[in-house]
């Protein structure tokens, strides 16, 4: 039924198409549809409510992008918010400095702990670790045997215990850790019995296991099909144990997985992995973007938004290229680029994201070593201190102009000289690259000049 959502939104906004700004009125129907979509994806009622309020506030008065309708613009804002919530933590595993690191797998019955344990062990082996597994599920019939069979399949050792001590989770865990130390295993994966979050006795058992093992990760294994109750179980597990991450299982089905959002919200802990099948290699790191489009379930709208974004990128890039070819890439453009760059956050992470900026990025990297942000501020200040004429034509900047600019920006003539040098070099390189790109387009066989050609020091 979500395939229809795009159509529905379009119908609702047919008459409003072309509106330039988001208003309470032109957002209302879209927000309603999105609310229903999120609830049907099993995102918790309150999470949806808060989200809708925050989106409404944020969206009000925002410009509607190019060829998007207001409703699509709202979807875009929601998508960005969800990405922000689900993706703002890196999902790497934390391991202890002194082996063996212990990873405790916890969760409700039937969420997929045992299968996930085997999958995670296999994942760790691929990363060069030497895991040992142990099942401390002494309750469910044949649970330990299940892990043992899986261990044999994936050829990863398991501690199975000795008959006399084999019915006490704590004893088993202690012995397994000893075994891991002795056999030089660097990660111990502990598969625990599924339990209800309101089962006080079994929850205390987990707390004791935590105390005993001092795990570096406590992973909450949750079924992607979980409904509204996800907030209660996740919250209780987190309160009792302090979980450090989440594995979302059964993502190979058609559940929309809104529980991910609920769990992330209520625990604040990152989603780390997803289970996508029954085979032991059907296991991957969590991808926020995929999860978001799945939860929203608005494939059509989302791909449209992406297309629009790409078109705008493309337009800008073409504009830049034209400017370069016509020698119009001025100091002002240079400054604008830097300013926009800074808005985006830490430089390092950005450099790779902007293809058109390749050479400029290289220049910026040279600033590295000192405080990049400070350097950027300086550059912008220098350009700001120029006259419009100077900005559009750097050739007229002679010695006395340089002194004036340095004074005006609180820098030195040396700084001004450096900047002008960086600018001309960046300009030169960008021109060469775009020339090369065009040459490729027209000449077909002409190769892009290799990066070595751009060495100028």
């Amino acid at each position: 039924m979500f395939e229809n959502l795009a159509e529905k939104l379009q119908r609702v906004f047919k008459n409003l198409r072309g509106e330039g700004k988001l208003t309470a009125e032109n957002m209302e129907a879209a927000l309603k549809e999105i609310r229903v979509a999120l609830l049907e994806a099993d995102v918790h009622f309150r999470v949806v409510k808060q989200l809708m309020e925050s989106v409404k506030q944020k969206a009000l008065g925002q410009e509607v992008l190019g060829s998007l309708s207001p409703s699509q613009q709202v979807v875009k804002i929601v998508r960005d918010e969800l990405l922000h919530i689900l993706g703002s933590h890196t999902s790497r595993l934390r391991l202890a400095s002194e082996p063996p690191s212990v990873i405790l797998m916890v969760g409700l019955q039937g969420s997929g702990k045992t299968t996930s344990t085997a999958k995670l062990a296999k994942f760790l082996v691929k990363q060069g670790h030497r895991p040992l597994m142990v099942s401390v599920d002494v309750y469910r019939p044949a649970a330990r045997q299940q892990l043992a069979v899986l261990a044999r399949d994936i050829q990863i050792p398991i501690y199975e215990g000795v008959p006399q001590e084999s019915d006490k989770p704590l004893e088993l865990a202690r012995a397994a850790r000893r075994e891991a130390l002795q056999s030089n295993r660097d990660v111990l994966l502990v598969d625990t019995a599924g339990r209800l979050h309101i089962d006080d006795e079994l929850m205390s058992e987990l707390q004791q296991l935590k105390e005993l093992l001092n795990p570096s990760e406590i992973l909450f294994v949750a079924d992607a099909m979980t409904g509204q109750d996800a907030v209660k179980s996740a919250d209780e597990f987190h309160k009792r144990l302090g979980i450090t991450g989440v594995i979302l299982t059964k993502m190979d089905g058609d559940a929309r997985g809104g529980a991910a959002l609920s769990i992330r919200t209520v625990t604040g802990q990152p989603l780390k992995f997803v289970g996508v099948g029954e085979r032991t290699d059907a296991f991957e790191p969590f991808h926020p973007d995929r999860a978001v489009s799945r939860i929203l379930g608005m494939g059509d709208v989302l791909s449209l938004i992406e297309k629009v974004e790409q078109t705008i990128d493309q337009k800008k890039a073409e504009e830049m290229q034209r400017k370069l070819l016509d020698n119009e890439f001025t100091l002002e453009d240079f400054r604008d680029q830097l300013k926009q760059l800074r808005k985006l956050g830490p430089l390092e992470s950005l450099l790779g994201m902007i293809p058109q900026l390749g050479p400029l990025a290289k220049e910026l990297k040279k600033i590295k070593g000192t405080d990049q942000e400070k350097e950027l501020t300086k550059i912008v200040a220098i350009i700001d201190s120029m006259t419009p004429k100077e900005r559009s034509n750097h050739m007229i900047i002679n010695g006395s102009r340089r002194r004036r600019i340095a004074m005006g920006s609180g820098t030195t003539v040396q700084d001004v000289n450096n900047l002008l040098k960086q600018y001309t070099q960046a300009r030169l390189m960008m021109k060469q690259i775009s020339g090369g790109m065009l040459g490729k387009k027209f000449g077909g066989k002409m190769k892009l000049p290799s990066l070595d050609a751009f060495k100028f020091r």
Binding site: S54, G110, M225, D229, S233
Partner: protein
């Protein structure tokens, strides 16, 4: 850098998560049966009250569409002044939900010639094997002979798990090796039950996601096999549904019904805080009865489904 045209997502809202979290905590603090609060605290029927009703229904996993419809029907009566007391709304909603569940009730099929074949299907981790153990215990307590068929030949140690239940309940288990054809195991079990006039054969199947076409086809094949050996079999196909499941439960019920002709639902794990409200949507849309509920891990923890009690529990604080 052109991405900044779209408004940065990282810079402006570092506190969104925090705020969402507070929202939830607020809820939890006030999670003393919203419905009761709403109804005993207030006499006036207004928009706030109706929103609170929606909250209780949706957080019970009844689903946003079903919830809206239920509330809409109540709203209409309020508008027509047929209801003037808030507490009447409570009984109206309850009555409505109970009627939905009762409408889908069907008697368990009568089997004149043993064996009666009960096939148990569901997604992974729903609680099929545990349910089978409890069912076996139930049938045994009625003085019937029971044979368990270990047709989950896929999952590691599934056969062993069923065997433990066989020992606990005194039911015999027919099994083959892990990895063998489930239909072949079923064939064996049914032949043996027929020859020995066993009353019940309960068939354990591998958990499978309803989206896997080949695995669903395998279930179809099993039902065909059953029919060939025992005419009219499987007499009952029970879909085991985890009460923590959200709206996906409806999809599960649809797909399993298509491939294996589900005749009833077993709602498991109702001993937690999950309400399992999705069965209301299932009853409405697919007209499937809920046969049993699972309320624990012991052999006795399988109870017949009672619509009144179930609806009552939807609104209980947990």
């Amino acid at each position: 850098m052109f991405r900044s045209l779209f408004g940065s997502t990282t810079e402006n809202e570092p506190n969104l998560l925090e705020r969402l979290k507070q929202g939830i905590q607020k809820t939890r603090a006030g999670f003393v049966s919203m419905l009761d609060d709403a109804l005993h605290g207030k006499k006036v029927i207004d928009a706030d009250l109706l929103e609170e009703l929606e909250y209780s229904l949706i957080t019970a996993d009844i689903g946003v569409r079903t919830a809206s419809e239920v509330i809409e029907s109540v709203r209409q009566r309020v508008d027509r002044h047929l209801v003037n007391d808030a507490s009447e709304i409570r009984s109206l909603i309850r009555q409505h939900l109970i009627e939905v569940l009762q409408a889908s009730e069907t008697p368990t099929p009568l089997v004149t010639e043993p064996p009666a074949v009960v096939m148990v299907v569901g997604v992974n981790g729903a609680g099929k094997t545990t349910t089978i153990g409890k069912l076996a215990h139930r049938f045994k307590a009625e003085g019937r002979s029971v044979l368990l068929c270990a047709a989950d030949t896929f999952r590691a140690a599934a056969i062993e798990q069923l065997e433990v239940w066989g020992q606990r309940t005194g039911a015999e288990v027919v099994r083959q090796r892990q990895g063998s054809d489930p239909s072949a195991v079923l064939f064996d079990a049914l032949q043996s039950a027929k020859a020995r006039r066993i009353d019940y054969v309960i068939v354990d199947t591998a958990g499978r996601l309803h989206t896997k076409a080949n695995l669903m086809a395998e279930l179809e094949k099993m039902t065909r096999t059953a029919k060939r050996v025992v005419p009219g079999a499987p007499h009952e196909v029970l879909l085991v549904l985890d009460a923590t499941t959200g709206q996906n439960g409806l999809e599960q019920a649809k797909h399993f019904t298509e491939s294996s002709g589900v005749t009833g639902i077993v709602l498991t794990k109702l001993d937690g805080t999950a309400k399992g409200g999705v069965v209301i949507a299932i009853a409405r849309e697919l007209n499937l009865p809920i046969r049993y509920i699972g309320v624990g891990e012991q052999v006795n923890d399988l109870l017949p489904f009672e619509p009144e009690r179930f609806v009552e529990s939807l609104f209980e604080t947990s």
